[in-house]
Symmetry: none
Subunit: 404 residues, 2 copies
């Protein structure tokens, strides 16, 4: 027997209401204690506004994918938008392409690329070509874009630093192809292999393109080779508007998060890159949307750099700017992360993520500060991150009763 997926259930009971929801995602929010102090980044930061919101609201901890599973950015965000990140699986190539506003056509195969450095033996010595500038990357992309291999045209567009996208259009293409990126140095790039017979042309075209790129880049050390990964096609999922009956807007300055928001049908707004600029955009555009997703990247970046103090400062910066969002008096205000990025681990991690939800009808708990340890005692309990959207919807009276 096929059971209804949770998203189908929510879609069947969602309804418009005049209430407005803000989802503020502090990327990589969760941490582990600093061994010197016993306190996490969030527990160290001075956050009077978040603490006040925790006091009035309801707190908990979320698992983005499941206990023990460390999420990438895409699964982490899809879960927050209510899409089961195992059911809704997305290729890296598509994600990057959507994130740089590349308009994918039906049949296109998108890949994520790195410019890299190879030595005279063809071995990769730097997978990121010394992190060349975005300008240099764009210049090199112009050498490669428009390449024709048999019936296929390859479009190459810079993303940031050494990162680009290569989109294959035309011919009998299929995304079941393996990465050329060896994910290590001291070895040559891999040949792209067909993972299914229908992807044989894809693999051959990709390998010929890579050979062409290598020839054209020969004089451009350190960016003298390309690595491709994440062959994928646009998934065409149901939009948040279809599921939740909301007009949804996204405020995010990093391409990947803009791309993710677009994949679930959000309108992506122009904004600046600082927390203050993002929150100002929210203030300007709040009236136009039922649901606003606001994304703050800095906490994750600081965590990945192992910079505990900088992550603390980013959280404090969010807290200082919070009155801009609070002043909009959203009916439902959710603050959480897409995953943990403890500075101690310098990487995304599996640790459950602090979450708080404020509404006038949330039935507050006794958590009166926003921290991992307070969230552990909170009224939300420990829940899958996919449960946050239904909870936000319910608190905004956007879900009718299930069953008679």
């Amino acid at each position: 027997m096929k059971t209804m997926s949770n998203l189908d259930l929510i879609r069947s009971i969602s309804q418009p209401s005049p209430k407005k929801i803000i989802l503020l995602v502090i990327d990589g929010l969760g941490g582990v204690p600093n061994p010197k102090t016993g306190r996490t980044e969030l527990e160290t930061a001075r956050t009077p506004n978040l603490d006040q919101l925790a006091h009035k609201g309801i707190c908990g901890l979320t698992d983005p994918v499941g206990p023990g599973i460390t999420p990438g950015s895409a699964p982490g965000h899809l879960a927050l938008f209510g899409y089961d990140p195992i059911e809704f699986n997305i290729g890296r190539g598509v994600l990057e392409a959507v994130g740089v506003d590349f308009e994918l056509m039906p049949g296109d195969i998108a890949t994520r690329g790195n410019f890299c450095t190879i030595d005279e033996h063809g071995n990769v010595t730097d997978r990121r070509a010394g992190r060349i500038t975005t300008e240099k990357c764009a210049e090199l992309c112009r050498l490669l874009t428009g390449t024709k291999i048999r019936e296929t045209t390859i479009f190459v567009q810079a993303v940031k630093e050494h990162r680009f996208i290569a989109v294959f259009r035309g011919g009998e293409l299929s995304p079941e192809a393996s990465d050329s990126d060896p994910q290590q140095t001291g070895v040559p790039a891999k040949l792209v292999a067909a993972l299914h017979p229908r992807a044989e042309i894809m693999a051959r075209v990709a390998n010929e393109f890579i050979a062409t790129a290598r020839a054209r880049l020969a004089g451009h050390h350190p960016a003298n080779m390309v690595l491709l990964r994440g062959f994928s096609q646009h998934p065409h999922w149901p939009s948040m508007e279809e599921i939740y009956k909301v007009k949804a807007g996204a405020i995010a300055s990093y391409p990947m998060y803009r791309g993710l928001a677009r994949l679930v049908g959000m309108q992506v707004l122009d904004t600046g890159s600082t927390v203050q600029e993002e929150f100002a955009t929210a203030a300007q555009r709040h009236k136009d949307f039922d649901f606003l997703f606001v994304h703050v990247k800095g906490a994750d970046a600081a965590g990945e750099d192992g910079d505990f103090d900088r992550k603390v400062r980013v959280i404090e910066e969010v807290d200082s700017a919070l009155p801009t969002l609070l002043g909009l008096k959203p009916d439902v205000f959710v603050v959480t992360g897409d995953h943990s990025t403890p500075a101690e681990l310098k990487a995304h991690s599996w640790h459950p993520v602090p979450a708080l939800l404020y509404s006038e009808v949330c039935r507050p708990d006794k958590a009166n500060e926003f921290s991992e340890s307070a969230c552990l005692t909170g009224g939300l309990g420990r829940i899958p991150a996919t449960a946050l959207m239904p909870l936000a919807m319910a608190n905004a009276f956007k879900l009718t009763k299930y069953g008679a």
Copy 2:
């Protein structure tokens, strides 16, 4: 769209690491409060080592199958090994056969048998034949093993006391057959019935074998009849090594747990039957494995006997011997039970099971003793028991990120 099962997901992201995991299972660990003291067995026991570990680690409560579901030993352990005990269903016959090192062949149907006592009317008066000795059981098994019914040969092997296995080999057999064990006294043994047309020969052969056994046992009161249950076939599941990329060893003295460990591909080690002997085996063999499952039976047996004080003593014995395991400095140390066996109930129960996980990166909580009530406030929250393996894997850095 078929979605990935959790085990497929874990398999897709698992990777080897030099870190080592110990899973210590105190069988039937969970309890309910003694009405005289208000404290459970675990709360009554003096457990300084476990308390210290709880203080440094992270605690919680697990549901082996689901809230309200009382697990048998097999589902309880499969959940701890990360195998969904509803998806991975195993017949009792196979479990017992694997547990006594009987080498099942493709097509074999294994059953669990009891020698029992029947009166002159054929009614069962004792389902366990007065718990005859294991030696007597082996002697009677020799009377029955090798019996041929039509194209089928039946192998009969003693397990312990009145328990044996009967394995049916050859002919058109199928495991969809009902038990002959009536699970009560004062009534005759049931006829084995085919639960599917393809099991009709199985049922006929089983009934003829039972009639033959009754005739041969006529002079062997109190063991003058047999009861069969759990007709089943070897399931051939993915091994822990395939799923988790670990070399897994099992230290358990009871046949069933050894059999269970073997079913998921663990190497089962020779060991003695006391806690001290089992832990000494762990100390000797720890270097050879990435994952060690150590099973302590006594707590469950005491709980089933309704012996609260003996269960307390078993837990204290584990605590006293714990330094042997702690001395191995496992990177991840998990201590839990496969289910609760409250002495008050003299049986397995549905109560969630205390669990603790220690690693250097576990993000400790405020639980500073190992008890049901402290676990209720712990950082693991209340989780399915199947989540413990992914968490242990994550804490041992044996899982890569899911998704980009």
